[in-house]
């Protein structure tokens, strides 16, 4: 009876180790704090109506950023823990008596941490930011009011949130995450070798968020291909939109493979099938093939929007059109099509024939060509440009340096004989992080610095921003250049301890210190955002939405844009559409009736049921799974046949809304008494915060809350 009701759940599932208790307490405390603040401020209705059920891609984009930001901290803590373990993990250190400890983590716990680190950073940080950016920027860039299917968009977002909850659920129940590496290769991930719930949590967190990704990608493709402003032909699209389009086309190609593969692994574990098992004639290398057919293109899904960001930034900050637009587009298309035929380079050691390895090695080397075309495009754009070195440009230059390092080591790894030596070594890990931190993460930071004024109407604090950048770049070199060296010296990846006679420990310690420097950079970024909001009067973007002298249509709107984006849909005649309009002279806005989608909570409900399905299968509670499937079907039917999902605001109302906005903005524009103040530095911010908090304590201001 008990088994039917609650499946495998038992008292042992409750947190009882230091990290699960710590994690649970931290998450619950955070949740409690948020709940208390919202209740005291009476903001539940506002939260639900204005944000959670919103179908506005701009709001959904910001929610993606917030969740992604939290997960970046969560995954970053994992990284610091890994580095600390490796810095401490030398045994037989001379001078220390006896067998010195193997670091501070057990081998099993260490494995769970690097698995979680990989999953969180790829799925719940990089994907979150990329999707957030596309949500916010692409409709603005193509002159659209919304996405093709607003409902699919919220559904995709909430499924992503369901995945985020699932990946952290093990703190609360179960106490273990997968200890298999981020792709959970079979047969290690099979029931025979990973009997616990860790792999099940892994499967369902990826499954739920992966389905959300597929839906989101379909939606973006529809939007970009069907909803561009009149006159914007494909070859007049801004390059960020091009990057997003290529990326999303790849996403719809590969995410179904992930979904199918995860289902097969789930069937192996749950139904006892024999796809990837050792017994019963299963084929383990088939899993490796299938998962990498998704896994390799996935990193290109992440990097292509970043390429788009850099194309925008380098052009705006060099005050020049991008050099050879068409070759940049071709470069992106080339990268995305080649990316689909290189997956086997992840396991040259599988034992395929020399010809197979040679083919995939060549394809991998070829992909360097379109990528370099893009890099040369950007450099050529800077040539003879009047360059401004604001933080977005710094992130771009940092990217060029770090990504070049990652790219070159990538071409080295593409040569099968070299790969045989470096396979599974830290060299590979260093290569991967050079491309993903240097490419994707720097791209995201660049994008945030560039579009932050659009998101909030406030420019980011440059002083702290520059510091943050330098901490990131120096920290990156300190932690990843030693990693290349260690890899060449033979250190394998996923190493939790090693003998001190290898002489690796100093480098591992250097890596750990580098990690702390990076963490400082991240803290500075938070400080930067905080300082910008504190000095918002000074940093208010007085240009009314176009602080960088932008070239594409998103800069033609207010900052932040109204929920309908454009009062009238712009007509595009050339690339750099907004620049063209500015040259011709801006025309007075026209007003027209606008169709706006209504808010909906259906995405939240479906995601809750989706989460419950995953939870039910992790703990083998059949009734809950069945009930949740029925729940999803019911929500779909109710939502699917709702014929009143839109409302219209008349041109008159639009005009009123616009006037209200201008009235609200006016005083902010004119206020320039603070202009002589300098931007806050770190020290000013610390002083400010110290005064702020001492004030609260002195005057007992918390009673007001």
């Amino acid at each position: 009876m008990k088994e039917i009701l609650i499946g495998k759940l038992s008292k042992q599932a409750l947190p009882h180790e230091w990290f699960t208790i710590g994690g649970s307490v931290a998450f619950l405390a955070l949740a409690l704090l948020i709940i208390i603040v919202i209740t005291r401020k009476k903001r539940w209705k506002w939260l639900w109506n204005d944000w959670l059920t919103s179908v506005d891609p701009k709001k959904i984009g910001i929610m993606y950023f917030i969740v992604g930001g939290f997960m970046l901290i969560r995954g970053g803590l994992d990284a610091i823990m890994i580095w600390l373990q490796q810095a401490l993990g030398a045994s037989n250190v001379p001078g220390l008596t006896g067998e010195a400890a193997h670091g501070y983590l057990s081998a099993d716990h260490f494995q769970q941490i690097f698995t979680a680190h990989g999953n969180i950073m790829v799925f719940f940080v990089a994907m979150a930011f990329v999707f957030g950016l596309i949500n916010y920027i692409v409709p603005l860039q193509i002159g659209a009011r919304d996405l093709a299917s607003p409902f699919m968009n919220t559904l995709g977002f909430w499924l992503f949130v369901g995945g985020v909850l699932m990946v952290n659920m093990f703190f609360l129940l179960g106490g273990e995450y997968a200890a298999t590496g981020w792709l959970a290769v079979a047969p290690l991930s099979e029931k025979a070798f990973s009997p616990g719930v860790g792999v099940d949590y892994w499967i369902w967190s990826l499954q739920i968020s992966g389905i959300g990704t597929t839906l989101g990608a379909i939606n973006f493709i529809m939007t970009i291909l069907k909803m561009r402003a009149p006159g914007m032909t494909l070859l007049k699209m801004p390059l960020f939109t091009w990057g997003s389009l290529c990326s999303m086309l790849m996403a719809v190609t590969i995410f179904p493979l992930l979904t199918a593969t995860l289902f097969l692994l789930f069937f192996d574990r749950y139904l006892g099938t024999h796809f990837f098992t050792i017994m019963g004639g299963g084929n383990q290398m088939m899993y490796t093939n299938l998962i990498w057919m998704w896994g390799h293109p996935e990193v290109y899904v992440l990097i292509l929007p970043a390429f788009g960001v850099f194309s925008e930034v380098v052009s705006v900050f060099s005050r020049k059109a991008i050099a050879s637009y068409k070759s940049a587009v071709l470069g992106m298309i080339g990268v995305s099509s080649l990316a689909l035929s290189v997956w086997l380079h992840h396991f040259f050691t599988m034992g395929a024939s020399a010809n197979v390895n040679a083919f995939f090695g060549l394809m991998t080397m070829l992909i360097a060509i379109p990528t370099s075309v893009l890099v040369f495009n950007w450099i050529a754009t800077m040539y003879k440009g009047r360059i401004r070195f604001d933080t977005p440009m710094l992130w771009f230059l940092g990217f060029v340096a770090v990504f070049a390092m990652g790219g070159i080591s990538g071409v080295m790894l593409a040569v099968p004989p070299i790969d045989f030596q470096l396979h599974n070594s830290l060299f590979l890990v260093a290569h991967f992080h050079s491309t993903v931190i240097g490419g994707v993460l720097f791209g995201i930071f660049c994008a945030l610095a560039y579009w932050f004024p659009k998101l909030t109407g406030i420019k980011l604090n440059e002083r702290i921003g520059r510091k943050a950048f330098w901490f990131w770049i120096v920290g990156f070199c300190m932690s990843f250049i030693p990693m290349y060296l260690l890899g060449l010296m033979g250190a394998t990846r996923r190493l939790d301890h090693y003998d001190s006679s290898t002489g690796w420990q100093p480098l591992f310690i250097l890596m750990f210190i580098g990690g702390l420097v990076i963490a400082t950079g991240a803290v500075l970024q938070l400080a930067q955002i905080l300082a910008s909001f504190i000095q918002k009067k000074k940093l208010y973007d007085r240009t009314g939405g176009d602080p960088w002298d932008g070239r594409s249509l998103e800069w033609s709107t207010a900052s932040p844009p109204q929920f309908y984006n454009f009062t009238s849909i712009p007509i595009v005649t050339s690339r750099d559409a907004y620049l063209q309009m500015k040259l011709k002279g801006l025309t007075k806005p026209k007003f027209e009736d606008i169709h706006v989608p209504k808010n909906t909570a259906a995405g939240i409900y479906i995601s809750i049921f989706g989460f419950l399905i995953g939870f039910a299968f992790v703990w083998e509670i059949v009734w809950l799974a069945v009930a949740s499937v029925i729940g999803i079907i019911v929500v779909f039917i109710v939502r699917g046949f709702d014929e009143h999902s839109e409302y219209t605001i008349s041109s008159h109302e639009v005009q009123n809304l616009e006037q209200e906005r201008t009235k609200k903005d006016m005083p902010l524009f004119s206020k320039n008494n603070n202009d002589t103040d300098e931007e806050m530095g770190v020290w000013d911010l610390t002083k400010y915060l110290a005064f702020f908090f001492s004030d609260i304590i002195r005057k007992k201001l918390w009673h007001k809350w």
Binding site: K226, V252, L257, L264, T273, F275, G280, G281, M286, D593
Partner: protein, 200 residues
């Protein structure tokens, strides 16, 4: 005049929405097709892994499979007729032809379930070996799609009865018919790769 203009705008808005939705549905179908592609690839890798047990030629009945194929092909024809009626907003014909399609779908599904039940009854379950695992999951996934198609069909038809045919419902029916044709195409590959291949 202004009123008329507004109406036109509304119709344009609606037509554009339909256009986008159909395009999106095509992309969705392609993603679903890729999932099937994985299952076909897996079946092609594993169909010899019988571990000494009986293979396809001993377990499958070509006659049943052919019957299933003919039923599904016929249902594709009837769903086509239903869509012609839907484009003419002919409610009774829509209900009739979708009704026939629904019945054919149920017939197909019951034959498939009977086949599965017999195999399981004789002890050839999906736990026995990799061949049976991949067979059950590939054909079963198709069957699950058919089940969802039938569920979708019945709810949409219920709304057609309740609300009558409007352009939104016709759009839903058009998607449904695409989905149905898509499942038919997948089945033809299943018939070829799973059933016919077992006997050559």
């Amino acid at each position: 005049m202004v009123e008329n203009n507004k109406n036109n705008l509304h119709i344009d808005h609606e037509a554009a929405a339909t256009d986008r939705a159909m395009f999106g549905f095509w992309i969705y179908l392609m993603t679903d097709l890729l999932m099937f592609a994985v299952l076909f690839a897996v079946y092609s890798v594993l169909f010899k892994s019988t571990q000494g047990g009986p293979g396809g030629s001993e377990l499958f009945s070509l006659r049943l499979a052919l019957t299933e194929t003919l039923i599904l092909l016929t249902s594709s024809f009837t769903v086509g007729l239903a869509m012609i009626a839907a484009r003419r907003f002919n409610k009774s014909q829509v209900l009739f032809w979708f009704g026939v399609t629904f019945a054919l779908g149920v017939a197909f599904l019951s034959i498939e379930l009977k086949e599965f039940a017999e195999l399981i009854h004789e002890g050839h379950t999906l736990k026995i070996n990799a061949f049976l695992s991949s067979f059950f999951i590939l054909v079963g996934t198709h069957g699950l799609h058919i089940t969802f198609g039938l569920l979708w069909m019945s709810t949409t038809l219920a709304y057609v009865i309740k609300r009558g045919l409007n352009s939104q419902l016709v759009r839903k029916l058009a998607m449904l018919s695409l989905f149905w044709h898509f499942l038919d195409i997948v089945w033809i590959f299943i018939f070829t790769i799973v059933y016919l291949k077992a006997f050559v």
